[in-house]
Subunit: 331 residues, 2 copies
């Protein structure tokens, strides 16, 4: 089977939204964003052995590869429009590719996001996706827009993906049903696209939680030149933490919630006056959001760092054994 046949066979789909003037098959695709819209662009690369295991279900892999990219668009408040896929494959395995394509295309279709181009080559397994979305000029949820006094929120629940990873790594044991649920959260993340759209004009700064809450919030704080207070005790007791994660030994639970990557929830700031609007946006998008702290003036020389506090507002004592640094591939 030739390269072009392979692509044609598995990645054919008819979706061509209004914003796509020319889809796959030319030297380049042509996008036509709506007048007045900016185009949000994000790229991610997934490597076997690093981001997924050789034994991964290819359908889940396809889903996740696109989900993590759509999550970046969600964090900008952008509506998904189109994506490209570059694939390096050790061999052309028909059944594997069919499942990968099914996972990718099902999520793309669910978000009206058209596959408009790509590349396929032989090589160690690697998926590289670029997604493009529309957002009205001036309405994007940028990282540099947080202001002192803003509330800080997270969507959904944090830590389940890391819980699953810790079980895979043999570092903790949990009941089978708990593991199955956590694993599903890790392998089938749901990008918060609807929430990102609903937060346009409501939230100020936003990022997605891919590397861990403190790391991704840190991106917002540094870009905005501010600090933040995170109510650690309140957060750990809130609806933003599942019972399964809360049942873990405390240091591990904190690690999962504050530094666990792969959640693909949104962390965002919004003015205190917007509390009702934030909850209305969350309701419209069908996902819970939890207020977990506030943006502050930066401490002297410490813009970009969040401080953890207890229920009384005192410095939170992080128990020994919690690992709260952001995830860094080359650290």
């Amino acid at each position: 089977m030739g390269e072009f046949d392979l692509i044609r066979r598995h990645f054919q789909h008819a979706l061509q939204p209004a914003g796509v003037a020319l889809g796959n098959g030319d030297d380049a695709a042509l996008l036509a964003p709506a007048p007045g819209c900016h185009l949000a662009v994000s790229t991610d690369m997934l490597v076997e052995g690093r981001h997924f295991l050789p034994t991964v279900d290819p359908r889940a892999l396809g889903h996740k590869a696109l989900a993590v990219n759509l999550s970046d668009l969600a964090a900008m408040g952008a509506r998904p429009l189109a994506w490209t896929l570059a694939l390096a494959l050790p061999r052309a395995d028909d059944a594997w590719l069919a499942a990968l394509a099914a996972g990718l295309l099902a999520l793309a279709d669910a978000h009206g996001c058209a596959l408009v181009g790509g590349d396929t080559t032989a090589g160690p397994l690697n998926l590289c996706l670029t997604v493009m979305g529309e957002v009205p000029a001036g309405q994007a949820l940028r990282r540099d827009a947080a202001r002192p006094g803003d509330d800080v929120y997270v969507s959904g629940q944090l830590g389940d993906a890391r819980l699953a990873l810790e079980v895979f790594r043999g570092r903790c044991e949990v009941p089978a049903a708990t593991f199955a649920r956590a694993r599903r959260r890790m392998e089938w993340p749901q990008p918060r696209v609807a929430l990102g759209l609903a937060l346009r004009g409501v939230a100020r700064a936003c990022a997605d939680v891919s590397d861990g809450l403190l790391g991704d919030l840190g991106h917002i704080l540094r870009a905005s030149g501010v600090g933040a207070r995170i109510d650690a005790e309140t957060l750990m007791q809130s609806a933003a933490v599942s019972d399964d994660v809360r049942a873990l030994p405390k240091p591990l639970a904190l690690t999962c919630v504050l530094a666990g990557g792969d959640d693909y929830e949104l962390v965002f700031s919004a003015p205190a006056a917007a509390r009702e609007a934030v909850q209305a946006a969350a309701q419209a998008a069908g996902v819970a959001v939890t207020r977990i702290g506030a943006i502050e003036e930066p401490a002297a020389g410490a813009a970009g760092t969040a401080r953890l506090v207890d229920a009384q507002g005192r410095p939170y004592r992080v128990p020994d054994g919690a690992h709260l640094a952001g995830f860094d591939h080359f650290a």
Copy 2:
């Protein structure tokens, strides 16, 4: 050195053209194409051992990785605007990365194309680039626009990159100076961006020659539902073939010119009435173009194939030993 430091150190550059509303550093970049413009998007993936050798000069690798993508924009008549880079690296080698970045950024700067995002991960060496360019709506040089009676042209010279590859593979021997020149053509291709822009409104269909002339012309013919006549003898004697390639044994010379990949020239069609305009565009862009045949009504059941003719218009007899099929990674 951490992942973010590594990117910041080597890939910082200040270029932010008018069409880039927000560059690197957020969940997504924001592009603002000029009003009335479409955005052309293309993606390529380069894998060590497949597209380049481990011993490659990283500066040349950087140049070529971006050049092949800009070549796709050139083939659409699009003006480069922005690009993203995803990198999988076996290790963080500072000197190697500095050279790679220098090669990439020098070409990006030369074309006013801003690096707006990317991803870095550990893994087998892999570069995936996505480029984005602007083209006024309706003016893109699409593959499906060729019409019977159009002339067929190629830019520059064909076959030198393949000549270098054949020497690397030990299949032929040439003087050192010949090899050095051919190798430079293979490793430092110049994307025909200026020509693509000059051909807006002049050419009809266009593609870049990445897989070989017959293969890439075939894409145009199939997309347009037409055939073509290529004057093989005339072509081989024309300025579109270097003296070095012409001096090769004839079967090999034909292979290099008609099926050699990696030239990154443009193959395009234009109405016969536009001959002067085509030459004026070529002159404005500073690159020669050569007329090598014509678009024809498709032979019964044979849309998409070109026929080779001799100087008298008779079927050209391809000598034994010439390999004229398109390049296919999984064939």
